[in-house]
């Protein structure tokens, strides 16, 4: 891996972590979904996984001393972004498609924690967890949708201008 890209991964983890801490006073209002979608769209799949793993480890170390009940669902949820981007989303750059994905992701992120909370508390009733998390999922889904819709394109342009674009299309010539 090029040193430049390695440094960009480290910088992206720092940006993700810092903005999350700055916006901590507003529950579920953050730019993490936007930034991960943005970084995933310029990094390769492998680079994205490295970035997300580093970010989740850093976040879990700082916030909860590697509590597996938070770290594992967080890791699995964030991994869904590069997985979806490189499969069902077909590496789209359409801000509307990505915004809709960010909105859906807001709910999936909340649901991912439910089985782990059930194990942690030892209380196996699924529905109350689902209902009590709806307001937070709504906040995350709305924030994700709005931020991706308005900020993805300008931020992507900044990253493209500094030469961070990958996924160059190979066009076969039959001349």
């Amino acid at each position: 891996m090029e040193t430049k890209r390695l440094l960009m991964i480290a910088l992206s983890v720092a940006i993700l972590f810092t903005q999350e801490q700055l916006l901590m006073f507003l529950p579920n209002v953050q730019l993490t979904v936007l930034l991960i979608i943005l970084f995933v769209s310029v990094f390769s799949f492998k680079e994205s996984i490295i970035m997300i793993t580093s970010y989740v480890f850093l976040d879990s170390l700082y916030m909860g001393g590697f509590n597996v009940f938070y770290m594992v669902p967080m890791m699995l949820s964030w991994y869904l972004i590069p997985l979806s981007y490189h499969t069902i989303l077909r590496r789209t750059k359409s801000e509307l498609k990505l915004a809709i994905f960010a909105m859906v992701f807001g709910f999936i992120y909340g649901w991912m924690f439910i089985p782990f909370n059930m194990i942690q508390t030892g209380i196996p009733n699924f529905l109350p967890y689902l209902i009590s998390d709806i307001p937070f999922e709504l906040i995350m889904a709305t924030t994700g949708f709005i931020t991706v819709l308005w900020m993805y394109k300008p931020l992507y342009k900044v990253l493209a201008d500094i030469g961070l674009e990958t996924h160059k299309t190979i066009v076969k010539s039959y001349k």
Partner: protein
């Protein structure tokens, strides 16, 4: 223009959902509730009935009689129990019942059913019994 319209629609739907959600969670106009405290060895150390009106909250009733300490944003114990913008406060200490969140917490039972809602999200209905119980992580019923 299209982006602006879509954004406004999404924000309006989100706000409407919040309003509907909060309307589902209203107190009775008048009534009586029972508050029970259970300590770390499972003994009931407090059991009393309280009258309430529509404007009371479970937190305000509890706060009148007990020394409460809450969790801060990092879930450390703190004597600042100011209301939070979204969601609910997390009580870590009620008088002698003190928890640390990572190994134990204060579980809330509404009419003997474990509540996954926080103290600020619970509405007061006449005859409700709220039990605050010292709970070890993983020991729920």
């Amino acid at each position: 223009m299209k982006k602006l319209v879509i954004s406004i629609i999404v924000i309006v739907i989100a706000i409407a959902s919040f309003v509907i959600f909060s309307q589902l969670n209203k107190n009775d106009k008048l009534g009586e509730i029972t508050i029970i405290l259970v300590d770390e060895i499972g003994d009931t150390i407090y059991n009393r009935k309280y009258d309430f009106t529509e404007t009371d909250t479970l937190f305000s009733i509890l706060d009148e009689d007990f020394n409460l300490m809450c969790a801060d944003s990092s879930y450390n114990i703190n004597d600042n129990c100011d209301p939070v913008l979204f969601g609910s406060r997390v009580i870590l200490k009620i008088d002698t019942i003190e928890t640390n969140w990572s190994d134990n917490y204060i579980g809330i039972y509404e009419n003997e059913v474990y509540s996954t809602l926080g103290i600020d999200s619970l509405s007061l209905n006449d005859g409700d019994v709220f039990t605050f119980e010292f709970t070890e992580i993983g020991d729920g019923n």
